[in-house]
């Protein structure tokens, strides 16, 4: 599903490398944690997967397509197959929960009927049925992140990428979000999570890829945060 081979990247020609010889393969239905200190290259790697940036060297295949050769006009269709969850939620604050989720469906040209059918179902899945009409800015952090998750899964993507999804949440809400991600994964969606939350990594016992100063240092099945440091 995601194949990285010999990836090098730097943002400026004369700057230092942020990714150095990265190689890994992620199969359909996997749940993978990306861990490592800030600036290790996790977010850069995620930006590459949604083709926000292109590696300077090496290749990255997502859903079988080499992203370096992908035409710009095809990028929106790639992203419809990847649900994104961000640390800062990135929601439309002035709109309601339901509107934020429907927004991602409208982008794909979905009809009003489809939207009316699917949105309540996904709200139920993330436990926000009661908050459908509430404005996002009136929700708690945990609830906002659940809206973010609902928006990420509304189009039934094959993969979810979550960049520090619990970074702004307390332990209870963090655990709740991870539970939802696990449920989504059990239903067959590939989930990639970048996190600093060692407790959650240790508890879930999933594959862990550790990045440090741009290098992939450990790639371990059923890993733990402590074991890779």
């Amino acid at each position: 599903m995601v194949e990285a081979k010999g990836i090098y990247h730097r943002y400026d020609k004369k700057g230092k490398d942020v990714l150095i010889d990265i190689n890994f393969m992620i199969n359909r239905g996997e749940f993978v944690f990306f861990v490592g200190p800030s600036g290790a290259g996790k977010s850069t790697l995620f930006k590459m997967i949604i083709r926000e940036i292109i590696p300077r060297e090496g290749y990255l295949k997502v859903f079988g397509h080499d992203l370096s050769g992908m035409r710009q006009s095809r990028v929106p269709y790639l992203r419809r197959n990847i649900g994104m969850v961000f640390q800062d939620f990135r929601l439309l604050d002035e709109r309601t929960t339901a509107e934020n989720i429907a927004f991602a469906m409208r982008v794909t040209g979905a009809s009003q009927r489809e939207i009316r059918r699917r949105v309540p179902y996904v709200l139920e899945l993330v436990g926000l049925r009661e908050k459908a009409a509430a404005r996002v800015c009136d929700l708690s952090g945990g609830e906002q992140q659940r809206v973010g998750l609902a928006r990420a899964i509304i189009n039934r993507p094959a993969m979810i990428i979550a960049d520090e999804p619990t970074g702004n949440l307390d332990p209870d809400n963090s655990y709740e979000i991870m539970n939802i991600l696990r449920t989504i994964n059990i239903r067959g969606t590939t989930v990639l999570v970048a996190t600093h939350n060692s407790e959650i990594v240790d508890r879930l016992k999933k594959r862990v890829i550790h990045l440090n100063q741009g290098r992939l240092t450990v790639d371990e099945e059923k890993g733990a945060y402590a074991s890779v440091l």
Binding site: S73, R79, R80, M84, A104, R106, V107, A110, R151, N155
Partner: protein, 297 residues
């Protein structure tokens, strides 16, 4: 830019609710369009009227050719045929000296009372000639001086040359000012729209992350730009109509009939043809091109 019917409906709804949601920015954008197009439209009105007045004066420019009394009938006949055949003349009118006297009497009254009979008439037969274009007057007059049976050719040389120079200057200054205003309008509108796009950059970024195509994102902005531009053009059009109508009534009321102003319907026709597409076009282009940087996510 293929867009599905659902997406188009969505774009219309989004455009409308964004205009409302960002009502202060909408008003600011419309305000900028109104001010610039009001200035441009106002100047167009002045320029159109100046053109009308100068073209009226230019229409009246003519050559008067006096016939030599000592020439033969044959020479005069020859002159008549040559004038009729001249390519640059579109009107050749013979004025008998009796008719010239009659006109003079009408103008001056008692002063010329003594000249009653044909024998006392000191005036000469003449031709009043109109050239195809007023600018030709000088060259044609000089050419006619060499014709047979010609005593004198008069065309108010100094006045006409000055008038043409002034007309050309007015047109050039007008064109320059209108171009300057139009360019200013483009910059102001593009910057205002860029500001509205900037305010909503977060929304655009989110749309890109959830897989929106560039045209899906652009459409609501383009429709908004179209609306802002059209409203921004319609308001000055209405204002100019009322102000101009009032000016025409004032000119009539004050008996300034020598000011032959262009009728309001004609002026408005010209302004609608120019300002409405300009406003709408500026709105659309301003929106579409102000987004470039924000779409690169």
């Amino acid at each position: 830019m293929p867009v599905s019917f659902n997406s188009f409906l969505y774009a219309c709804g989004e455009a409308w609710s964004n205009l409302y949601r960002n009502k202060w920015m909408t008003m600011a954008s419309v305000g900028v369009v109104v001010v610039t197009l009001l200035m441009l439209g106002g100047f167009m009105v002045v320029n159109l009227n100046l053109n009308q007045i100068t073209s009226d004066v230019r229409e009246q420019v003519e050559i008067v050719l006096y016939i030599d009394e000592e020439s033969t009938a044959e020479e005069q006949e020859q002159l008549h045929s040559k004038l009729l055949a001249h390519r640059s003349l579109n009107e050749v009118r013979f004025v008998h000296r009796d008719e010239a006297m009659k006109r003079l009497k009408e103008q001056l009254g008692d002063v010329v009372e003594g000249y009653e009979g044909a024998a006392d008439n000191p005036l000469r037969d003449s031709y009043e000639l109109h050239t195809l274009r007023p600018e030709m007057v000088g060259d044609v007059a000089r050419e006619l001086e060499g014709y047979p049976a010609v005593a004198e050719v008069y065309y108010g040389e100094a006045t006409v040359e000055k008038l043409f120079a002034a007309t050309r200057a007015v047109q050039l200054v007008g064109l320059g000012l209108m171009t300057g205003l139009a360019v200013t309008a483009v910059f102001l509108i593009a910057h205002t729209i860029r500001l509205t796009v900037f305010i909503r950059r977060r929304e655009i970024m989110i749309m890109k992350y959830v897989g929106a195509t560039n045209w899906f994102i652009r459409w609501p902005f383009v429709l908004e730009g179209m609306f802002i531009g059209a409203l921004g053009a319609a308001l000055p059009l209405g204002a100019i109509y009322y102000i101009y109508q009032a000016s025409l009534e004032w000119v009539m009321a004050n008996n300034l009939m020598f000011l032959t102003l262009v009728p309001a319907s004609l002026i408005m026709g010209e302004l609608v043809k120019c300002l409405l597409p300009l406003g709408t076009g500026l709105g659309i282009l301003g929106s579409a091109f102000s987004m470039g940087r924000f779409l690169r996510v």
